[in-house]
Structures are given as structure tokens and as C-alpha cells.
């Protein structure tokens, strides 16, 4: 909504102003900042895992029985597993799969769910709405984890396939969220005005309605990152995700659970890693919610 006459200078100024305001809203809650910092650290360590991890070789099929089941200590901060692999290194490498999972799923799911929700919402009362939303209802008739498990079960267990499985169970939630917003926004004056001057449906749906749905969609995305990662970890926990020797957080927890309580560190530290990553995305999501909310 920038005025066309405004000079470049004032446009830049406005961006800086907006960014400052957004940061103020975001950082009012200190926990959001903590979440942001943790997420940045996790992303950096996952990207530079080869440099950051103390024993990068331990992320693969490495075996050293002489150092198996070592408790946390100076050489292995979080101990070693039954094959003598450094758990900290494996967690850092497992963050890669977790982040790919989270980003990959949302990148696929959000556009699909949004488009379906927008079309169904704008065409409320039509046959298309009925068909789209009833199909959505069918996918919502199962808890996401169960649907994902079922889809995963019939495919070969790989990271990509488990991502597809989560996608299949996740898009309906976006469809429903956007549907709810679109079906109320279609009665707004500016949508009626656009209809009156004969704008195309495409223009109305994507240029008039969509921009007003973006803030809630973005907020949900941030909050969902943690849940998607958690669902991915749950799939790998039962053995339907990334296969060994590639480290995955869920697999590490379930493998380690066999050695409780004597070698507790094998499963507890990956479990804590899952908690931290989910918690951090939740805190970040809360901050984004504060940032995008219109209330002062």
C-alpha cells in the first residue's frame, strides 16, 4: 500500500520502520528470542555438521566396540552408543533430516492446502466447495500420525517417503484453516467491489483474498514446524523413516530404549534433542504470532 509518489528514500525508511516495529513486537516476549536463537544454532550446526560435530565419521556405519556404551564424559560429551559412536555427533547429523522433514513437508503442504481452502471458501455453496471440503473431511477422519503411519507402511522406508506420508495427512489442516478465512472474507466490501468491476475469479481469489490470509497461514507454519518434525521422529521411532546407519532422532530413541536403564544416555539425549527442537519452534511460533497480530 505504498503511495506511488513516495520517493525511494521514504520507502526504504518505511521498511526499516516496519522491521523495527515487528522486532519490537517479537522480542517483547524474551522466550521468543530464546527460541529464535536456539533455532538459528540448530540450523547452523546442521548445515555445518561436518565441522561442528566432534566425530563426523560416527554419523554413518562406523563401529568401534572398544568405546561402546561409554557414559557421558570429556571425550564423548553425551556418551556413545552400542556401536561406540558418539551420540552428540549423531544428534547433530540427525538435525539435518529433521529440518529437511519440517521444511520439505511445509513447502509442499502449505500451497496445496491454501489453494484448496481458497477455492472452496470463495465458491461456498457450489458443488466444487462440497467436493473439496468433503474430501478434506475424509482425510481429517484419522489422526495425522495414524494416516502417516499407514501411508509409510506401504512404501519403502526412506526420508522422502516419510515426508510424503506426513504431507498426505497434513494438507487438510491448512485447507480447513484457509477455507474458514476465505469463506468469511468473500463477504468483505473489497471483494464485492472487485466482483462488481468484473475482476476474474483468479484475481479475486489470489490478489484480494489470499493476501489477507497470509498472516495466520504463516503463524501456523511456524508453529507446525515443530509438530511436523515430531511426527517425523515418531515415524522413525517405529522404524518407518530414515533407515540406519543414517542417524534419525526417533530411531536413536527407540534403539536406545532397549538398553534402559543401564545405558540411559543412548535414548535420553536424542529424546531431549527432540524436545528442544520442538520447544524452540513453538517459542518462535508464539513470537511470530505476537509479531503478526494486529493488536497493539
Amino acid at each position: 500500500m505504498t503511495t506511488r509518489e513516495a520517493s525511494d528514500y521514504s520507502v526504504v525508511n518505511r521498511y526499516v520502520e516496519n522491521a523495527k516495529k515487528a522486532w519490537y513486537k517479537f522480542s517483547r516476549n524474551k522466550m521468543s528470542v530464546v527460541g529464535l536463537v536456539v533455532i538459528v544454532l540448530i540450523i547452523l550446526s546442521a548445515v555445518f555438521a561436518r565441522i561442528v560435530a566432534p566425530y563426523p565419521k560416527h554419523a554413518g556405519a562406523f563401529v568401534n566396540y572398544a568405546e561402546a556404551n561409554l557414559p557421558p564424559g570429556w571425550h564423548h560429551l553425551l556418551g556413545t552408543d552400542v556401536f561406540g559412536r558418539d551420540i552428540l555427533s549423531r544428534i547433530i547429523f540427525a538435525f539435518r533430516g529433521a529440518l529437511i522433514m519440517g521444511v520439505g513437508v511445509l513447502v509442499m503442504v502449505v500451497p496445496i492446502g491454501t489453494v484448496i481452502g481458497l477455492i472452496a471458501g470463495y465458491m461456498k455453496g457450489s458443488l466444487i466447495e462440497t467436493i473439496l471440503m468433503r474430501i478434506t473431511d475424509i482425510f481429517l477422519a484419522l489422526p495425522p500420525l495414524i494416516l502417516a503411519l499407514a501411508v509409510c507402511a506401504v512404501m519403502r522406508p526412506t526420508l522422502f517417503n516419510s515426508m510424503m506420508a506426513v504431507c498426505i495427512s497434513w494438507w487438510p489442516w491448512y485447507a480447513r484453516l484457509v477455507y474458514g478465512m476465505a469463506s468469511s472474507l468473500r463477504n468483505e466490501v473489497y471483494v464485492r467491489a472487485a466482483e462488481l468491476i468484473g475482476e476474474s475469479r483468479f484475481h479475486i481469489i489470489f490478489r484480494e483474498i489470499l493476501p489477507n490470509c497470509l498472516a495466520p497461514i504463516f503463524t501456523k507454519m511456524m508453529l507446525d514446524m515443530g509438530w511436523v518434525i515430531l511426527t517425523g521422529a515418531s515415524l522413525s521411532f517405529v522404524g518407518l523413516g530414515e533407515q540406519p546407519p543414517t542417524p534419525a532422532l526417533g530411531t536413536m530413541v527407540s534403539d536406545g530404549a532397549k538398553y534402559l536403564p543401564d545405558y540411559w544416555w543412548i535414548s535420553i539425549f536424542p529424546a531431549i534433542a527432540i524436545m528442544i527442537i520442538v520447544l524452540a519452534f513453538n517459542l518462535l511460533g508464539d513470537g511470530v504470532k505476537d509479531m503478526l497480530s494486529t493488536e497493539e
Binding site: S234, S267, V278
Partner: protein
């Protein structure tokens, strides 16, 4: 109410019908031949052919679906390729065990969550409120299987007051099969010792399963109670001199529970999903563990059966919750949902 109920049930039947198609498609897109998959690579070709005929794999896809649906309606889900028994028999055996956990867990979730939420709202910003809020946050972000592992570690080994394996202690004779739920069956037959033992085995898995939903329920109850406390009608009732206790229960608590109940329905349904993971840790021979072993072995009939049963349960829970919400908030009709 009657017409709305019918509409709601009609829609649910439609959804379940759609779900049956979805599940059928999922169980048929498997790369490779399901019959060959079931018998293994070394089985002779004639045996594979025979099984293919038995499973109707030689017929066109829509015929297969009609046959499968026909069986489903008559309670025949085909034969499990792993247990070599009818899937229906397997489900009858394993489902009650999981129902026991999930029911207990749902009770803990709803009452525990509401109780913690009330305490938190009543003593806002006290240390107790702070503690409950921190635990709630941890509860929400930790998956049920992490709680299960923590519980096994603490209560199984450090403070061994609850068993962490299976449904009954070794040596305890299972009660005769009536409902299939050990706690209920042992009470019916008056075997109190077995009841206590079976119940003890349920405690840890049920609480581990409930943690996430309970935390969620506590947070929502707290915030909606705080919202409602500031409303004008509460102030008006205070001015009228209505006793604090009555205001609290009848005018504050009841409307505040509406969001809690709506969210709890989703959480309770999700218990079935997470039970899949928790049962693995507690080595609990339930429905979910049966489902997982079916999934890992690509036992298609069993997978389809398990998922379909869960779909029916999930949809039923949603109907029930809708009615509870409609009872709590007369403004919400069922028609628009």
C-alpha cells in the same frame, strides 16, 4: 436436536465410506505384488497364484474394492498374513487392551487438565501457577514416547512402584474373556487381586499418553477462565451477591470448559495414534503394537482393518464431543458444524 443428530451421523457415514476408499487405495498402491510380498521371494509360483486368487488380486480393482467393502460391512476383514488368523479375531483380541489404556488416559487427560487449569487460574501468578505453566509447556512439546521412556526410567528402576512391562505380572492368571479388558473382566468375576495388578500395569502408559493433551487442556482452561473472569456478567453476579462458589462453578467454569472440550476431543482421538508408540516402550500387547507389526511386515489386510477401526472410533468420538459442546454452549448448533 434429532434432525441435527441424523445429519451429523449421515455425514459421518459418508466420511467413513470415503475413508474406506482411501484405505483401500493405500493398501493397494504397494509397489510389488502383495501375494508375493506375503509369501516371501522363495515361495513357489503356484502358491502365489493361489493366494492371489484368495485375495481377489486377479480381479479388476473396483471388484476388489466391492468385495473388500462387502467383507467390511459383514465384519470380515480378511486374513492376517502374519498371524494367519482372521483380522477380525485379532482385532477383537488386541483392541480391548488398548481401549483400557486410552480410556484411562482420556480420564486423566480431561480431569487432570481441567483440574490443573482451575488451580492455575485460581492462583494466577503464584508459584503454583508458574510451576503448572512450565510443566504444561514441557508436556506439550514432549512426545508421548519420550514421557514413556522417562517414566520407565524413574518408576521402573529408581522408585519401582509401578510395573513397566506387559498387561499382568508373571504368574497372574488372566481373567476369563468377557469384554477383553482385564480390569473390567476381573471386577466382573470378582477377582480383586487381578484387578489391582492389571490396573497397576495401566497407570504409567496411560499417564505417559495423557501428558501432552493434559498440558494442552490445562493451558486452555486457564486462559479461558482468565478471559471470562474479567467479563461484565461475572461482576454483575458478584454485585447481586451470588455466592462465590456458585459463580465459580456455574457461571465461570461451565462456559470456560467449551474450548477445552473441543480441543480435548482432538487430543483424545490422537491418543490412539500415540498409543502406537507408547505400547512399544511398555511392551504392551495391544492393538497399536499389532498395528505396528502389521505395518512393518506389510500385512495389508491387517493394516486396512486396523486403520478402518481407528477411523470409526475417531469419527464416533468427534460426534460425541460435538454433542457435549452443544450441551455446554446452547448457542452452538450442530447444523453448522
Amino acid at each position: 436436536m434429532g434432525i441435527n443428530l441424523l445429519k451429523r451421523i449421515g455425514l459421518s457415514i459418508f466420511v467413513l465410506f470415503g475413508l474406506s476408499i482411501l484405505i483401500f487405495i493405500i493398501s493397494r498402491v504397494v509397489p510389488g505384488d502383495p501375494a508375493r510380498l506375503a509369501l516371501g521371494p522363495r515361495a513357489p509360483e503356484w502358491a502365489v497364484q493361489k493366494l492371489r486368487q484368495e485375495m481377489h488380486l486377479d480381479k479388476p480393482l473396483y471388484t476388489q474394492y466391492v468385495l473388500w467393502l462387502d467383507g467390511l460391512v459383514h465384519g470380515d476383514l480378511g486374513r492376517s498374513l502374519v498371524t494367519r488368523r482372521s483380522v477380525t479375531t485379532d482385532i477383537k483380541e488386541f483392541l480391548p487392551a488398548t481401549l483400557e489404556i486410552v480410556i484411562l488416559s482420556a480420564i486423566v487427560l480431561v480431569f487432570g487438565g481441567i483440574f490443573l487449569g482451575i488451580i492455575s487460574a485460581k492462583f494466577t501468578n503464584s508459584w503454583l501457577d508458574g510451576l503448572i505453566r512450565v510443566i504444561s509447556y514441557l508436556g506439550i512439546v514432549s512426545p508421548a514416547f519420550v514421557w514413556a521412556i522417562i517414566f520407565v526410567l524413574i518408576f521402573g528402576y529408581n522408585i519401582p512402584i509401578f510395573p513397566t512391562m506387559g498387561r499382568l505380572s508373571p504368574g497372574v492368571v488372566p481373567p476369563p474373556m468377557i469384554t477383553g479388558m482385564y480390569t473390567v473382566d476381573s471386577l466382573i468375576t470378582g477377582n480383586f487381586g487381578t484387578f489391582v495388578d492389571a490396573f497397576k500395569h495401566l497407570v504409567l502408559p496411560a499417564i505417559a499418553l495423557a501428558m501432552g493433551g493434559m498440558a494442552q487442556a490445562a493451558r486452555i482452561t486457564r486462559s479461558s477462565m482468565l478471559d471470562n473472569m474479567g467479563k461484565d456478567y461475572i461482576a454483575a453476579e458478584k454485585a447481586y451477591g451470588i455466592p462465590e462458589g456458585l459463580i465459580f462453578v456455574k457461571y465461570l467454569l461451565k462456559p470456560s470448559l467449551i474450548p477445552t472440550v473441543s480441543v480435548a476431543s482432538l487430543d483424545i482421538a490422537a491418543l490412539f495414534g500415540n498409543a502406537f508408540l507408547v505400547e512399544l516402550i511398555f511392551n504392551y500387547p495391544g492393538f497399536s503394537r499389532y498395528g505396528i507389526s502389521a505395518m512393518l511386515n506389510k500385512d495389508l489386510n491387517a493394516i486396512a482393518g486396523v486403520i478402518m477401526v481407528l477411523g470409526v472410533i475417531f469419527v464416533t468420538i468427534n460426534i460425541i464431543i460435538d454433542f457435549i459442546v452443544a450441551y455446554l454452549d446452547p448457542r452452538i448448533g450442530l447444523a453448522g458444524r
